[in-house]
């Protein structure tokens, strides 16, 4: 294991050096995450008869399987940084984000954060039966804003999301939105607040080109406001446009951590092999 956790290329010396001007916002220290999956059973073992037999005989369900998703990851993120997370499917990127957000317990190691990281994922559903405007108000209140702030910000958020560009969608229930529109609204809500740490999981993938440009500008503003942004994406273009540092995860381990260009080049080489 000791050999595996070493990055292949030691390019991170330039980025992760402890510089006294730089203030860390996230410290991830040798983190291991293990999922215990219930009901991951062989065909036929989930029938009523077997469930009953298990209860009668008092044995524990044999269907709990362990999945070691993150196997000892360490890095430090600083204020004003935008960090891209890349890696093939199932490499532990989303798991790592959930762990940083405090939504998954670590099995070993620790995650330290400044303030409360906010996770913006594709599944961050608000209330689908309510209008976009009401969802904006609710989302803002849930982020701890006051009623006056919410009133002031609601039109700005609706404008930014651009949902009214294709008709007066702001007053229609969210269930009538296309997936792209809903994703744009969710991003607009989350981006309305200053976050110490914003974790974005593929949430920008569904927007169109115009919205992507606008959201990249918004991310720049967020970083200048002394925040740290994490971006998980399979779109290398988004990563290179937004992040100057990139972490490449493979099979739950950091394979490389350094300037985006170097990491992305190595990653693309690896993927085309």
């Amino acid at each position: 294991m000791a050999k595996q956790t070493e990055p292949i290329a030691d390019v991170n010396a330039t980025t992760s050096a402890v510089d006294h001007q730089r203030i860390p916002t996230i410290v991830v220290d040798d983190v291991h995450v293990i999922y215990r999956v219930h009901g991951a059973s062989a065909p036929g073992s989930a029938s009523m008869v077997t469930s009953l037999r298990r209860i009668v005989s008092g044995t524990r369900s044999p269907n709990i399987r362990e999945v070691h998703a993150v196997k000892g990851v360490s890095f430090t993120a600083y204020r004003g940084e935008a960090i891209g997370l890349i890696g093939s499917n199932g490499s532990g990127k989303s798991t790592l984000l959930l762990t940083i957000a405090g939504l998954l317990p670590v099995d070993r190691g620790a995650v330290y954060t400044a303030g409360q990281p906010s996770l913006l994922g594709v599944n961050a559903a608000l209330l689908n039966d309510l209008s976009g405007e009401r969802n904006v108000a609710l989302g803002c209140l849930a982020m701890g804003m006051s009623r006056a702030e919410v009133r002031k910000l609601t039109p700005e958020i609706i404008d930014f999301s651009g949902i009214n560009e294709s008709g007066e969608f702001g007053s229609l229930p969210m269930r009538t939105y296309s997936s792209g529109m809903a994703a744009r609204l969710r991003f607009a809500i989350a981006a309305a607040k200053k976050h110490d740490v914003l974790l974005i999981d593929e949430a920008l993938a569904t927007g169109d080109a115009r919205f992507r440009r606008r959201s990249e500008e918004r991310l720049h503003e967020l970083r200048e406001g002394a925040g740290t942004v994490f971006l998980v994406s399979h779109s290398i273009g988004t990563i290179t446009d937004t992040c100057e540092r990139t972490i490449w995860l493979e099979a739950g381990l950091i394979r490389m951590d350094g300037p985006t260009q170097a990491v992305v080049t190595a990653y693309e080489e690896y993927m085309t092999k």
């Binding site: 294991m1 000791a2 050999k3 956790t5 070493e6 990055p7 030691d10 991170n12 010396a13 992760s16 050096a17 402890v18 203030i23 860390p24 916002t25 996230i26 410290v27 991830v28 220290d29 040798d30 360490s74 430090t76 959930l98 940083i100 957000a101 405090g102 939504l103 998954l104 317990p105 620790a110 995650v111 330290y112 954060t113 400044a114 409360q116 990281p117 906010s118 996770l119 994922g121 599944n123 961050a124 559903a125 608000l126 209330l127 039966d129 309510l130 009401r134 108000a137 609710l138 989302g139 209140l141 849930a142 982020m143 701890g144 006051s146 009623r147 969710r186 989350a190 950091i254 951590d257």
Partner: protein, 298 residues
């Protein structure tokens, strides 16, 4: 570990020391009870809006919209009137059986719906929980508030029924307000407790309807409370008088109906009702808080 030193060749400090120096805290740590209460208070507008939004959302797809808020209890009352008042002509030795029945039914329904939607208040809002950071107790409390608004509508219907069936208007009616407020606190605590349980054990959603139905039979909703004293062993009948739902139902009946039979004297009912509200309210809140960092996990 030697390898961590290799991967961070320039850092003289261990990650833990670095985190401590800049005041970073472990991710997903639970706040203290006092801080949590303070946080919750600062989210009161969110709780109110969320409760309201849920109420509005539950009617958006129905054509009659919010009219259902009144139509639901009215329809319920009509069905019970036809079955017990016309078909069976039940009296059960109670002067105004229809009003007696509806009071019990509406007060019970308040707790029943709070418990049922409280059980799912975490599991059905996982998207919200994972996306935004707010004290999770907001959700079960909002559930209680939503149902409280339903209760107000059914109490309006109930007052209509009570008047139509010929009960006099007295100052005692005002006592229904504190009684229902005590019940609301009790329900809030219950919602918090079942929310944590429901987040952990998904089976609870399937079990709850049976628990609530049993509780309904033990609360003298459909028949006179005299039945307990008449048909049960004295010890069990005594125990039945501690049933919080029976207590709240009796308190409201005592307030609204002139000649309703009571299982225990009013003073005892008030004391027990306040005791239960306090116990469930504080107990439920503390129990929920202890699981705060776990919601949304898994």
């Amino acid at each position: 570990m030697t390898d961590t030193a290799v991967s961070r060749p320039d850092s003289a400090q261990s990650p833990t020391a670095l985190a401590a120096r800049f005041g970073l805290r472990p991710a997903g740590q639970r706040p203290t009870l006092a801080n949590y209460t303070r946080q919750l208070w600062s989210y009161r507008h969110f709780i109110a809006s969320f409760a309201n939004a849920k109420l509005v959302a539950s009617f958006t797809s129905a054509r009659l919209g919010r009219l259902w808020q009144v139509l639901t209890p009215l329809t319920n009352a009509a069905i019970y009137f036809v079955i017990f008042g016309v078909v069976l002509n039940t009296r059960a030795g109670i002067p105004n059986f229809i009003a007696y029945l509806c009071t019990g039914l509406f007060v019970f329904t308040f707790t029943q719906t709070v418990v049922q939607s409280g059980t799912q208040s975490i599991t059905s809002n996982l998207g919200l929980i994972r996306a935004l950071h707010f004290p999770r107790a907001s959700l079960p409390i909002a559930v209680t508030l939503t149902q409280f608004q339903h209760l107000i509508a059914s109490i309006a219907v109930l007052i209509g029924i009570v008047l139509v069936t010929g009960e006099p208007v007295t100052f005692l009616w005002l006592l229904a307000v504190p009684a229902l407020l005590l019940q609301s606190v009790f329900n809030g605590g219950l919602a918090l407790a079942v929310a944590r349980l429901g987040a952990k054990v998904a089976d609870l959603k399937q079990i709850m309807p049976f628990v609530m139905r049993t509780w309904m039979y033990a609360s003298g909703v459909l028949y006179s409370v005299d039945m307990f004293a008449d048909n049960l062993p004295p010890a069990v009948a005594q125990l039945m008088q501690l049933n919080p739902l029976l207590i709240y139902i009796e308190l409201v009946r005592h307030a609204l109906l002139e000649n309703a039979p009571l299982a225990s004297p009013p003073t005892q009912l008030w004391l027990l009702g306040a005791g239960w509200a306090l116990l469930a309210g504080i107990g439920g809140f503390v129990y929920f808080w202890r699981g705060e960092e776990e919601y949304g996990r898994g």
